[in-house]
């Protein structure tokens, strides 16, 4: 093995040992690490070079090649770093980089609840009693103003409720007051819509003692794929 081979091998191993403890730094610090690596590799090579009084021309040539290569790597890093920075800037516009789009999530949830409701038989006694209770609560002083029921359907464990609102205040009050006022209902999912200038809310309630359906994780994961 030539002397410069040993020199380069030593520099590589020393570089690996020096950088390994820095691996706990988050991935975002990679650019800095690359910068450190560049300067350290050069320093190690240079100090090794100075420590050897019998270096030959071949070693010098090899070191020159290393420096050229590092220059090229730096240039490549700068280009890819700029591209990453541009991407990161776009991602930073969202609160969470890999978040499922809110509108997509609401559409998926609505479809899931529709399927669940359609698949249920109707428990007539419970459905009638619950629909009556919902109507009574919505006629209460607190909720009567500004709310109009456009659709109500109860089956065996789920109820669907669509309500149009005259004001934003009426729309905002409903999800805070209605669930707590319904004694025969448990958990709920709701979404507020503002289509064609008409403010409305869509609720799905689960019968007390039953669980609200959850979106299958696989379906959400698939929808979250870019």
């Amino acid at each position: 093995m030539k002397a410069w081979h040993a020199l380069i091998l030593f520099a590589g191993v020393a570089l690996g040992l020096m950088l390994a403890p820095r691996a706990s730094v988050p991935a975002r610090a990679t650019d800095h690490d690359a910068e450190d690596m560049t300067s350290r590799e050069t320093d190690v090579a240079a100090s090794a070079h100075a420590a050897s009084p019998k270096q030959d021309l071949a070693t010098n040539a090899a070191l020159a090649k290393i420096l050229e290569r590092l220059d090229r790597l730096e240039a490549q890093r700068d280009e890819s770093g700029a591209a990453r920075a541009a991407t990161a800037h776009r991602e930073a516009d969202r609160p969470e980089a890999s978040l499922l789009d809110g509108a997509v999530s609401r559409r998926l949830h609505t479809a899931m609840f529709e399927r669940a409701l359609a698949a249920e038989p109707r428990d007539s006694a419970w459905a009638r009693q619950t629909e009556t209770e919902i109507n009574e609560v919505l006629r209460s002083d607190e909720l009567a103003a500004g709310n109009k029921v456009t659709r109500m359907e109860c089956k065996k464990t789920l109820c669907k409720l669509e309500i149009e609102h005259a004001t934003q205040a009426a729309a905002d009050l409903l999800p805070m007051s209605l669930p707590m006022s319904l004694t025969s209902m448990g958990s709920a999912w709701y979404v507020q819509n503002d289509e064609h200038g008409q403010l409305s809310s869509l609720f799905y309630f689960a019968r007390k003692g039953t669980q609200l359906p959850q979106m299958p994780r696989e379906e959400l994961a698939a929808a979250a794929q870019p």
Binding site: H5, I8, L9, A11, G12, V13, L15, G16, L17, L19, A20, P21, A23, S24, D33, M37, E41, A62, K65, I66, R69, P95, E96, A97, S98, L99, L100, G102, A103, S105, R106, H109, P175, M176, P179, M180, M185, G186, S187, A188, W189, Y190, V191, Q192, K208, G209, T210, Q211, L212, Q214, M215, R217, L220, A224
Partner: protein, 175 residues
């Protein structure tokens, strides 16, 4: 071995070191108990109500204001991975109350659209006289996925004389 090969060797050493350290970052369940002084009454004249001075002033919220009032108890989420978008779940969410107080758990996505409004079904409640522990989930049966970036808070109706003492969440990674 070429110079390129040796450079790659050094880079490989770096990558292996990074991977082993990153893999060691456990995604543990986070158990948190909050004093109910985190909660706040909302609504007209909400400020007329004050923390109970008789023994739990530092820890509880007590409605001494005459009329029933709504309180919000915020939950600070600590366990989720925004880089991967992996949803976490509440293995437990519970709130300790008295005096006819009722609570629901609201989970709202980051963009504010829609919400899960969760009630406890009463199955796992613990009651001791006037005091009650409302449990919303249990680890071995019912859990609730929480999307990354969603926020969660208890929303309680506290009658006159009612109180909230504390609340607790246990959030973890999906199995």
């Amino acid at each position: 071995m070429t110079i390129h090969g040796k450079t790659m060797l050094a880079l490989c050493a770096l990558v292996v070191g990074s991977s082993s350290v990153m893999a060691g970052r456990a995604f543990a369940t986070d158990n948190t108990v909050y004093p109910a002084t985190e909660c706040r009454f909302y609504g007209p004249n909400a400020d007329d109500t004050y923390f109970d001075p008789n023994g739990m002033g530092a820890n509880g919220l007590h409605n001494n204001g005459g009329a029933a009032k709504y309180a919000v108890c915020p939950i600070v989420r600590k366990v989720f991975d925004s880089r991967t978008g992996v949803a976490t779940l509440f293995e437990e969410a519970s709130i300790q109350i008295s005096g006819g107080t009722t609570c629901m758990l609201y989970i709202r996505p980051w963009d504010g659209g829609g919400a899960d409004i969760l009630s406890n079904d009463g199955t796992y409640n613990y009651a001791d006289g006037n005091h009650k522990n409302l449990k919303f989930f249990t680890g071995d049966e019912v859990t609730r996925d929480i999307p990354p970036g969603a926020s969660a808070a208890f929303y309680c109706l506290v009658p006159n004389g009612g109180a909230i003492y504390s609340y607790k969440t246990s959030e973890g990674k999906k199995p």
